[in-house]
Amino acid sequence: MRLEESGSQRSRMETLDLETVLGLARGGDEQAMGELHRRFARRVQGLCRHLLRSAESAEDASSEVFMRMARMFASYDDSMPFERWLFSIASHHCIDLLRKQQRERRWLEDEDVETLSVAIAADSPLNELIREERREEVREAIARLPEKFRVPLALRYYGEFSYDQIAQQLHLTRANVATLVFRAKQELRQALMAHGRI
């Protein structure tokens, strides 16, 4: 009996628009919280996976993100879209995790960006591979990028964060972020070209 009830409540929840669900969640409705999880878990998990590079840590991170979301819900106002807000919790959490791992302490190397103009975007192997429906190879190459490139890249093109937001999260300057995103793409092109050769 109770099961049916909760089932029908859930299906009712699914039909509501995001505003209403958020309103209910703000009122402490657990069903609404569950609905938010149902709607955004996949996206959040995707971001975590790109940042942490491992599916299992991404799952753990994602559940932690939703727990934090529940705790911090009171602080959410409508000044930014909900997904953006959730993403910033997720990226903060993942970046913390990466920092703790201390695999790559330095986010920046002193290499001059302009000297590395080996791969020019005009004939990017990336576009070619995408045209050839070989997305899988691109995805693998992204996952294999060093952390300092992978993280800004994922934050920019999956999380759709601005340079300023990324800079704030990684404690870098805006110029650093611009350079890292640019370098990340160069590295990716190079990796894909090398891959193509082998």
Binding site: R49, E114, I120, R135, F182, K185
Partner: protein
């Protein structure tokens, strides 16, 4: 106007240039075709990146991963089949040195035990039906364990199903179980099934038509057992008549009665009384062995001190500290001993040896001073490298993610430790509790393969760690593998047990990552159902 740098265009395409610079870029673009092309390409690239990143990884990666896993299973299966075929071949005597199964006596004992398991398993063919049930139980239990950390609901459902299956499977085994502080089977009592006893004191005076499996502080078997006897007890007394074999672990094991087949024992003190008789072979290890009874075939003994006054029908092989033979001892075949000093073998006058007497002196020479030590290390290294190479070539994704998984958190080593410890226990239990010897042997085989691969995965991971990079190309992966394997090979040889500890830690890390990734391959389909 001069063209802007590619970096500037990249920032421009990301809509991150300050407005005044952006308008200058726009002005330049209206005149420069080359830069227009570059900006267009950058935009396409950004879109492509967003598109690639937006799709979840596993949805696409899974089939490929699964395919690789299946290839891996097929290769392991083929290799296993090949090895077993090879094992079945008899090599000409002068090629015997090529046979890796023709090792030292120590290892022989292990193989003899395995051989016993196979032989003892003949009468278990009738129990194939039960075996199928057992396999199901193991699969369900295994699946449940895998689901354990993920979904509590599924876990509970799995446990219920497993218990249900267990309840159905075990009665089919014709198993009778008794427990208590003292369990006595009276002289007039006959048990037609296999009897399992778990008690502090076990007194078995009656008759058991199946096997007897007993565990306790004192286990005395004075009646008749038609099948085999497995005893694990502090004190074991075998006074009755056993028509199968006896496998016993205990502090003291005393045999007065008759064992029609073999006697395998591992105990601190073993005593074969003058009245005792073992119908076939005896393999025994312990601190102090006293053999006054009769062994119809060969006796293989590993002990600190051994006194023989009884009869051995065929060969007597001894390895250990001191061996003392005094009349009326008689050995029908050869007397082969492996001792530190020839004076450790004491052959009193009046002792009859039917065949020749061979005394091998074992030297405690440092293994580093032997040439074949280095040869074997090189062979091990080359073999591991080749296996790793084949893996990189055949299943690059699987190999890559397992070796990456080695260094990801504590899950791998903990899981690996659990597997390392639990598998041998499960194998012994499987072999004893009739759920299925074939299954136990198969598990042992997979365990061995897992242990071997574990070192290779850890080697690859270690190499990458040392090179401080995530290798993208095959060449780098191979380089990392060989570097890691060399480091491991040297580390395993560090004296004062350090090398052994490293070995065990390596097993834990590698096995854990391996098992976890096999689980990862299966899990997506499980979670979508749950």
């Amino acid at each position: 106007m001069a063209c802007f740098s590619e970096l500037t265009y990249a920032i421009f395409v990301d809509d991150e240039l300050p407005p005044e610079e952006a308008s200058r870029v726009r002005a330049h673009l209206s005149t420069c075709h080359r830069c227009q092309g570059l900006v267009a390409a950058l935009r396409v690239e950004n879109q492509a990146l967003a598109e690639v990143l937006a799709n979840p990884v596993t949805a696409v990666a899974k089939p490929r991963f699964l395919r690789e896993f299946l290839i891996l299973v097929a290769v392991i299966g083929l290799a296993g089949a090949g090895l077993s075929w090879l094992n079945g071949q008899t090599a000409p005597i002068n090629l015997n040195w090529l046979n890796p199964f023709n090792g030292e006596g120590r290892i022989n004992a292990l193989f003899n035990l395995l051989f016993f398991m196979q032989r003892g398993g003949a009468d278990m063919l009738e129990r194939w039906a039960a075996l199928v049930g057992g396999v199901c139980v193991v699969f369900v239990l295994g699946g449940t364990m895998l689901l354990l950390p993920r979904s509590r609901r599924l876990f509970r459902a799995g446990i219920n199903l497993a218990l249900l299956l267990l309840a159905f499977v075990f009665p089919g085994h014709a198993l009778e179980h008794r427990a208590g502080s003292i369990v006595t089977i009276g002289q007039t009592e006959t048990i037609n099934d296999t009897l399992v006893i778990h008690a502090e004191t076990v007194e078995m005076d009656g008759a058991v038509n199946g096997d007897l499996i007993a565990q306790g502080r004192l286990v005395a078997v004075r009646g008749t057992v038609k099948g085999n006897v497995f005893v694990f007890a502090q004190h074991v007394e075998i006074d009755g008549s056993i028509e199968g074999s006896v496998v016993s672990w205990g502090q003291t094991v005393t045999v007065h009665g008759n064992v029609a087949h073999n006697l395998y024992s591992w105990s601190q003190f073993l005593r074969l009384e003058p009245s005792s008789e073992v119908g076939m072979d005896m393999i025994s290890g312990g601190a102090d062995l006293n053999l006054e009874g009769k062994v119809d075939r060969s006796a293989t003994l590993f002990a600190h001190t051994t006194a023989v006054r009884g009869l051995v029908g065929r060969d007597l092989v001894f390895r250990g500290g001191e061996l003392n033979l005094s009349p009326p001892a008689r050995v029908g075949g050869d007397l082969v001993t492996y001792v530190r000093n020839s004076s450790n073998v004491d052959l009193a006058s009046g002792v009859v040896i039917g065949g020749k007497t061979e005394t091998h002196i074992t030297h405690a020479v440092s293994r580093f001073s032997r040439r074949h030590f280095y040869v074997w290390q090189a062979i091990w290294l080359a073999a591991a490298f080749l296996v790793g190479l084949v893996a990189i070539w055949l299943v690059p994704n699987f190999f890559g993610s397992v070796s990456q998984g080695v260094t990801q958190g504590w899950r791998s080593p903990l899981l690996g430790f659990a597997i390392l410890v639990a598998t041998p226990i499960a194998v012994v239990l499987g072999a004893i509790t009739l759920v299925g010897l074939p299954l136990a042997i198969l598990t042992l085989l997979f365990y061995g393969i897992g242990l071997y691969l574990a070192k290779i995965f850890v080697g690859a991971s270690l190499g990458q760690l040392v090179l401080r990079r995530n290798s993208t190309s095959r060449g780098q992966q191979i380089g990392a593998l060989i570097l890691g394997l060399v480091i491991l090979t040297i580390a395993f040889q560090i004296p004062f047990a350090v090398g052994k500890v490293i070995h065990i830690v390596t097993f834990c890390f590698g096995l854990g990552a391996f098992a976890w990734h096999i689980y990862r391959v299966w899990r997506p389909s499980l979670t979508t159902q749950g």
